[in-house]
């Protein structure tokens, strides 16, 4: 007795995204650790020295987290108002932060009280950074000025008043102690040289600039403002290189992967996009729950830290090598599977008496109904909302199986308004899909045959039939156009092919046979 053969669901080629090396790399992170902070997280900065702690600036505090801790290892709370831009010095010993109350504070990472307070700005300071010689601090403020401060004396060295709007971003050069770049809401980026009193280069971004990033080589500068990310070539005098517009809300933060080959941008549209820095194509995309304000990558891309407006800090750690292997093993050991393999991997001992039990075949619900010849019920099961929307191939396979059994008409008939509407809905959604069309066209014809008499009795069904008609008309026009194009292409190809002579063995053979005839005559004589 053969067992019931379940309905074959045809496997169609997937039209999804291609799996590249990039998706494999960027997907290889664990589930994120989420930490609730006190307010919107405006800045995240990694310490340049091992163990690569990171400073998270949120509301009036700066928390410093260890690489794997979920509790802050250190907290700076001596701010009178919202803190901004807590950044480490290149030796990881000092931390500087701006504040809404216009005071810039410098902390020792191991201490608690501010070592220095730089007072001079008149409005909130949104940007602070150390210069590469480690003795000076750059600050930028909402009072349109940026200033350089001396750390040992706590004195102001210079003030630049060239921007005409809030200064919200800035970077210092890691190679030259005198160079720094600021970006402002007046749409411009300015490159300053501390040795001169004026900016040496000005670039127009076109939107209020939110973030700046210098390449490690410092030949290229990336700026983010509005929906655009722009790349500038500094060595060519600030010439714009590329303008990327992949986000649909303001881009708030930029970041470079450790290798320097990938650029990450985070935006208020809740996405982080990864670009290839050679062709500036998006190679990967991360989704987050809320608008992103800050983003940082740990050295070697060990973790991705994202701060959001809903004051949640999300930390994704990279899977270690053996962990990524283990995952598949873990999935296999899920309880539901364990039930199935129970006792299967038991190796019988020598004296054991083996009692074999037939394996119960697991059938899908529609198969169980088909086995009992409940054709209408099987079609109903296949038309359930989830199957119909997510796995239309199953519905189509069941329709095909019913057609093969010669019972499709019985299954389609005898439906009320609701059932018919559901059926027509499915047809409208899928009948023009070339994968399903051959099966669904027969089904559609049958439906029209069966329900011909009830047309006009229900407005819902009538509307759907009209839609179906419209859809088919459009499809026919479309196919006709395609055929025309195909014909044009054929003529073009035919005219472009070189003509080739077919060898004339046929005529040759004829002459041969004539020759032989003559010879026969000669023999006869």
């Amino acid at each position: 007795m053969a067992s019931f053969k379940p309905t074959k669901v045809q496997v169609y080629p997937k039209l999804g995204e291609k799996v590249t090396q990039d998706t494999l790399y960027w997907k290889n992170y664990k589930a994120p650790v989420q930490i609730k902070e006190f307010g919107a997280i405006t800045n995240i900065d990694f310490s340049p020295v091992a163990p690569h702690n990171f400073a998270v600036t949120a509301f009036t505090r700066i928390h410093i987290y260890g690489p794997f801790s979920q509790e802050p290892v250190k907290t700076f709370t001596r701010f009178k108002d919202t803190a901004y831009c807590g950044r480490f010095r290149s030796d990881g010993q000092l931390l500087v932060a701006g504040c809404e109350d216009s005071v810039v504070r410098l902390f020792d990472v191991s201490g608690k009280v501010a070592l220095r307070m730089f007072k001079g700005h008149t409005k909130a300071v949104h940007i602070t950074d150390f210069t590469s010689d480690r003795y000076q601090i750059l600050t930028g403020s909402d009072d349109y000025t940026c200033r350089l401060w001396d750390i040992p004396n706590a004195t102001e060295l210079n003030t630049y008043q060239e921007h005409t709007d809030y200064i919200r971003c800035g970077v210092t050069s890691k190679l030259n102690r005198d160079l720094f770049i600021t970006g402002s809401y007046d749409h411009t980026l300015k490159l300053f040289d501390a040795r001169a009193d004026k900016s040496v280069m000005t670039m127009d971004h076109g939107q209020p600039v939110e973030s700046l990033l210098l390449y490690p080589s410092e030949g290229l500068l990336v700026s983010a403002g509005g929906r655009h990310v722009k790349v500038w070539d500094l060595l060519k005098g600030g010439q714009p290189l590329v303008s990327l517009k992949n986000h649909h809300k303001t881009v708030t933060c930029l970041c470079l992967s450790s290798s320097g080959h990938r650029l990450l941008s985070a935006s208020l549209d809740r996405h982080v996009k990864v670009y290839n820095t050679t062709n500036y194509k998006v190679v990967h995309n991360f989704d987050y729950a809320a608008s992103i304000l800050s983003l940082a990558l740990a050295p070697d891309d060990e973790s991705i830290v994202v701060g959001m407006t809903n004051s949640i800090l999300s930390i994704k750690h990279r899977k270690s090598l053996d962990e990524s292997k283990e995952i598949s093993g873990q999935q296999r050991r899920q309880p539901s599977y364990r039930v199935f393999v129970k006792g299967k991997n038991y190796v019988p001992k020598q004296d054991d008496y083996l009692v074999s039990k037939p394996v119960k075949q697991h059938l899908a619900k529609y198969d169980k109904q088909l086995k009992k010849f409940n054709v209408s019920k099987a079609l109903d099961t296949a038309l359930e909302t989830w199957t119909r929307l997510r796995k239309p191939e199953i519905t189509v396979a069941v329709i095909k199986e019913l057609d093969r059994r010669g019972t499709l008409k019985n299954a389609l008939a005898g439906r009320d308004e609701q059932g018919l509407a559901r059926l027509l809905n499915f047809l409208i959604g899928n009948v023009v899909d070339p994968r399903f069309a051959p099966v669904l066209v027969t089904a559609a014809e049958m439906i029209l045959d069966i329900y011909q008499s009830v047309i006009g009795q229900s407005s819902v069904v009538d509307r759907q039939l009209l839609r179906l008609q419209e859809l088919l008309e459009r499809e026919i026009d479309y196919q006709q156009d395609l055929l025309e194009v195909l014909g044009m292409l054929d003529t073009m190809f035919a005219s472009s092919l070189p003509r080739k002579e077919v060898n004339l063995h046929l005529s040759k053979r004829k002459t041969e046979s004539i020759n032989s005839d003559r010879e026969e005559d000669a023999v006869g004589q």
Binding site: A2, K5, K8, E401, R404, T442
Partner: protein, 819 residues
């Protein structure tokens, strides 16, 4: 001396085992069933065939255990005999000859006499006849006392049955049920109306009697079962109706205790009804195919159902199938070619619907069925199912390609091309790739590239949509998400030629050429570059069959056309080498030798010619191999080579030729050519050494030489001489001394010196102008084989003279011009 017989045609297996209902012996250990001209004894536990009871000369039409002796069994046959056998040892005990009976399809047994259903040729009706079995010790007894029991009975043996230990006999014919009581010598007839209200048919298809109770069950064409009671009254009879089957009930059977009634039909479900509680039923579904007979073992422990696909299923008390005895499945038609699986050397052809069967020829046993369609089979008449229409193996047997199709009346044709890889672990074929809708129309031919050394495997399919497609195995990792997906098949090339429909395709032996016939044009392609190399055409009609020569004849391409022409093209010169007019229904190439077999249909019977494309004379020919048109045949390689040296049977040394006989309803259907039996007749006191064979043969040939004038002239080159072959094949240590052999050897090389030289010259000329050769071969090969009279030989000599003159001309004429 050595004597040779003729090549014989022998039926080889595949006979029906479901023709009549099988019989289970009293100890339930054996199952007996009629199969062709013999009775087969199977073991119920191991499914093995234990013996064949051979002796009948006609189709065996029934088997029955002898009631008085459980170890003996009666069988009757269409040859008019009833035989009694001891089935445990397989010994024939008695032969009874019923001289006046022409046809005896069935019998049943009462205690003292055998009652046989006979067909009187003179009266043209079926009759039940009792035969008294005389208790004599003779082997052969002629039964003269025949007494008719019932006349005008149905031809269907299932419609006649004995009730309650032989008290009465119930017989149904059409709409009538007749019960005959032996004691009262009285019969009662009951009739049903022709059609009931719903249009169902009331025709009785089978009858069963309750073993203890007075109850007769009849099965009807509309699927109803009626239980008749009180049938010993003319008027007060009653019947109750049971209905589950949706189509005709083909078999009914009560269990020995009478507690259950078993019924089966086309649904292939065995239904068990409780007697007197008919609402309770048990089912055993999905038995494979329609049930034709049901029997129960005498102790009631085993049920046994015969099925329409030549299968007997043994069931343990309606619970589970314990054994399946499967014969060669013969479906409605064999649509795939007969093939030989290169691995198992088994014959492969269509089996059950949607399956391919692998049939071991030497063991006459079905090895396994491969499910190609993999869909639930719905047993309903008039339903279009998927059918396997084409199948092909590659050279090593590691790939199998199948095409299945389903055509509904008004819907599109559904086609699937499936490629199966042989899995070493499970020793069976595993589905690798399914290509749905590989072509837009029916696939007409399909073949694998048979080159053994090629890196890639290639499959070519031709279709009615005017294209042929080449499919290739690719292992492109980038296409797949995971590396564990192995290589799969994808389309490599689509070819067409002037919008004509390709009919057949064939790869050359080394795989460097592909020939595809487009109606009357044969196109030759190079599979490496997909370039159209040349086109060949033999004017008027479409090409039916294409075949490349093998080994030394691989330069030839043979084709048959619809206007009864067999053409042979030489691919080196791209010209027609020879052609002959024959109505060839099938052209086959032996994969191991140069030989080709052509089945040629003439005047309702089929002739066979075996020939080499390079030689105009057939190696072997036999007229009227069988009646009808042979359309399926196959060369099956032998496991060990034969050493036959008779020229006419040498072609059977490497392989055997099997063919499927055209549709004869009852006879076995696979037929094989066997080489002649090797009879040795020892004369005098000469020891039979190989050397004696050699010398003896040589002497024979010398005797024969002067007799056949033309055959000596056209004899093959000395290398092919049988004597030399024998000499070279004989082990050195049994050969006599060289000095003794030398003179004979030289002599055999120098068979008439002058002729040899002439032949050499002729072969030289052949390269320049092959007209003479062609002319001689355009005659019908069998004419050539008959040998010419003196007159053609004379013209031949003249022709040769002429050629010599021509050659002389050619040699000095250019020299003259230059000087």
């Amino acid at each position: 001396m050595v004597e040779h017989g003729d090549i014989r045609v022998v039926h080889r297996g595949g006979s029906k085992i479901n023709f009549r209902e099988p019989v289970i012996t009293h100890d339930s250990r054996y199952l007996l069933c009629a199969s062709g001209e013999c009775v087969k004894v199977f073991s119920t536990s191991t499914e093995e065939c234990i013996h064949d009871l051979r002796g009948h000369t006609g189709l065996v039409t029934g088997v029955l255990l002898k009631p008085s002796n459980h170890l003996q069994v009666y069988s009757c046959s269409a040859d008019g005999t009833v035989r009694l056998w001891d089935y445990t040892d397989g010994i024939l005990i008695k032969v009874q000859l019923d001289s006046c009976i022409v046809f005896a399809p069935v019998f049943a047994v009462s205690v003292i006499a055998v009652i046989i259903l006979v067909w009187k040729a003179g009266h043209n009706l079926f009759q039940l006849v009792a035969v008294d079995l005389p208790q004599s010790g003779d082997q052969l007894v002629e039964a003269r006392e025949l007494s008719a029991v019932l006349s005008d009975v149905s031809s269907n043996p299932a419609a006649i049955v004995f009730g309650r230990g032989g008290e009465y006999i119930a017989s149904a014919n059409g709409l009538h049920l007749e019960v005959y009581f032996f004691k009262k010598q009285k019969s009662y007839r009951f009739s049903l109306k022709e059609d009931n209200k719903k249009g169902g048919k009331n025709t009785v298809t089978c009858v069963a009697c309750h073993p203890k109770d007075d109850c007769i069950a009849t099965g009807h064409e509309d699927g109803k079962i009626r239980l008749w009671r009180n049938f010993n009254h003319k008027k007060e009879y009653t019947y109750s109706t049971l209905h589950w089957h949706h189509s005709a009930v083909s078999s009914l059977c009560f269990t020995p205790e009478g507690t259950n009634l078993l019924s089966g039909g086309m649904e292939s479900v065995l239904v068990q009804w409780r007697y007197n509680q008919e609402s309770e039923r048990d089912f055993l579904p999905r038995l494979g195919s329609a049930i034709t007979h049901i029997t129960v073992s005498p102790d009631g422990a085993l049920f046994c159902t015969s099925h329409s696909d030549n299968k007997i299923t043994i069931i343990q008390s309606c619970v589970k199938v314990s054994a399946v005895i499967q014969g060669l499945v013969k479906g409605e038609s064999v649509r795939t070619d007969m093939m030989v699986d290169p691995r198992s050397k088994s014959l492969v052809l269509n089996g059950k619907p949607g399956h391919l069967q692998f049939y071991s020829l030497p063991r006459d046993k079905l090895l396994y069925n491969l499910d190609i369609v993999q869909q639930e089979y719905i047993h309903e008449s008039g339903l279009e199912q998927f059918e396997v229409v084409k199948a092909a193996f590659d050279a090593s047997g590691s790939w199998l390609a199948t095409v299945e199709e389903r055509k509904q009346k008004d819907a599109e044709l559904e086609l699937n091309l499936k490629l199966w890889a042989f899995d070493e672990q499970t020793q069976s074929f595993v589905l690798n790739t399914t290509i749905s809708a590989p072509h837009e129309a029916r696939i007409t031919a399909m073949c694998f590239c048979h080159a053994t050394d090629s890196q890639t495997t290639m499959l070519v399919s031709t279709s009615k949509d005017g294209h042929f497609k080449a499919w290739q195995l690719v292992s492109d990792r980038a296409l797949y998400r995971k590396a564990e997906f192995g290589p799969s098949w994808s389309c490599d090339f689509v070819g067409a030629y002037h919008g004509l429909v390709p009919e057949c395709c064939c790869f050359s032996a080394d795989g460097s050429l592909l020939a595809v016939s487009f109606q009357e044009v044969v196109t030759v392609w190079s599979p490496a570059s997909w370039e159209l190399l040349t086109t060949l055409s033999q004017p008027p009609k479409a090409v039916r069959d294409l075949c490349f020569g093998r080994l030394s004849c691989s330069k030839y391409l043979l084709g048959t056309t619809a206007n009864n022409l067999l053409c042979c093209w030489n691919l080196l010169t791209c010209s027609l080498e020879w052609s002959t007019s024959m109505d060839i229904s099938l052209l086959l190439a032996d994969p191991l030798t140069e030989n080709m077999a052509a089945f040629c249909c003439q005047a309702g019977s089929t002739d066979l010619f075996v020939f080499k494309p390079s030689e105009p004379r057939p190696v072997f020919s036999q007229k009227a191999v069988c009646s009808g048109k042979v359309t399926r045949a196959v060369f099956a390689p032998r496991e060990e080579m034969l050493e036959s040296c008779e020229e006419s049977s040498q072609w059977l040394n490497h392989s055997q030729l099997y063919f499927l006989t055209p549709d004869l309803p009852v006879f076995p259907d696979i037929v094989i050519f066997l080489p002649p039996p090797f009879k040795l007749v020892i004369d005098d006191s000469v020891a039979m050494t190989p050397f004696y064979l050699l010398l003896g043969k040589h002497r024979q040939q010398e005797d024969a030489d002067p007799l056949s004038g033309l055959s000596a002239e056209r004899r093959p080159l000395p290398q092919c001489s049988v004597a030399i072959k024998e000499l070279l094949q004989t082990p050195a240590h049994v050969l006599p001394s060289t000095s003794f052999l030398c003179s004979m050897f030289v002599q055999s090389l120098l068979i008439s010196e002058t002729k040899h030289v002439e032949e050499e010259m002729e072969s030289e000329k052949e390269e320049e102008d092959s007209e003479g050769e062609m002319e001689s071969s355009t005659q019908r090969p069998e004419q050539a084989s008959l040998g010419g009279q003196a007159a053609p030989a004379l013209t031949k000599a003249q022709l040769r003279e002429l050629k010599r003159v021509k050659k002389l001309d050619h040699s000095w004429f250019p020299g003259l011009l230059h000087s």
